[in-house]
């Protein structure tokens, strides 16, 4: 490795280190931007909880041994 190459490497390293705070800030902004983009693709807590609650309500009926009238066999109409 020539002295010129070493100098270039060290200059680059110094540049990177001195730019670090700004880069860190840019990194956080970029990460937040991407996270926001992908957040649109998330199944929200509210949706999950709503579905769980619906199924829980049916489970409560099952646990109580309840069979709704429309699930029961009734006599034929006259």
């Amino acid at each position: 490795m020539t002295p010129a190459a070493i100098t270039l490497f060290l200059n680059g390293l110094m540049a990177a280190l001195s730019a670090a705070p700004k880069v860190a800030e840019l990194y956080v902004k970029a990460k937040d931007m991407v996270a926001a983009l992908f957040a649109k693709d998330l199944i929200s807590k509210e949706k999950q909880d709503a579905q769980w609650a619906y199924i829980d309500a049916i489970k409560a009926m099952v646990d109580a041994g309840i069979v709704p009238p429309h699930f029961q066999v009734e006599p034929d109409p006259e």
């Binding site: 880069v23 998330l42 909880d49 099952v62 429309h70």
Partner: protein
């Protein structure tokens, strides 16, 4: 020096953009942590179970459809009886089987929630398929327009 700094910053920002994209890969919708299907366990780790949520979504749809079909037949029984006696009779064959399938689903569900193994997951899928079958049959029994 200014140009080098700009170049380094650009490369790092592009890498920062690439990392979350690469991490998410080609997956479709993910579960937001903290929801009922992605709770945080006792050691603070999010345990997301998207396949379970998918099964439950399918169950909710199938059961809801079955519920609506049975309810519709009961609420319009006199009119439907006039169209054909077989509508009620077909529904009456499905009804007790649907109740048994519903109960079996929740037994399988309790087993899976207690012990999330591939075997208990397969059992849950089997019970779901029964509900879906009865849901389709009940819909088919009603007059089609």
């Amino acid at each position: 020096m200014g140009k080098l700094r700009t170049l380094i910053s650009t490369v790092i920002v592009l890498a920062a953009l690439a990392v979350p994209i690469l991490q998410s890969g080609c997956r479709t919708s993910q579960l937001e942590s903290g929801g009922s299907y992605a709770p945080t366990n006792s050691v603070g780790v999010v345990v997301a179970d998207k396949p379970f949520m998918a099964i439950e979504s399918a169950f909710a749809l199938a059961y809801g459809t079955l519920d609506t079909a049975f309810s519709f037949e009961r609420d319009n029984r006199a009119m439907l009886w006039g169209i054909s006696h077989s509508i009620k009779h077909t529904m009456d064959k499905i009804r007790p089987q649907a109740v048994a399938a519903r109960d079996a689903y929740f037994q399988a569900r309790a087993l899976y929630v207690g012990s999330r193994t591939p075997q208990s997951f397969e059992l849950l899928k089997t019970q779901l398929s029964k509900i879906q079958k009865f849901s389709t049959e009940a819909q088919s029994a009603l007059p089609q327009l």
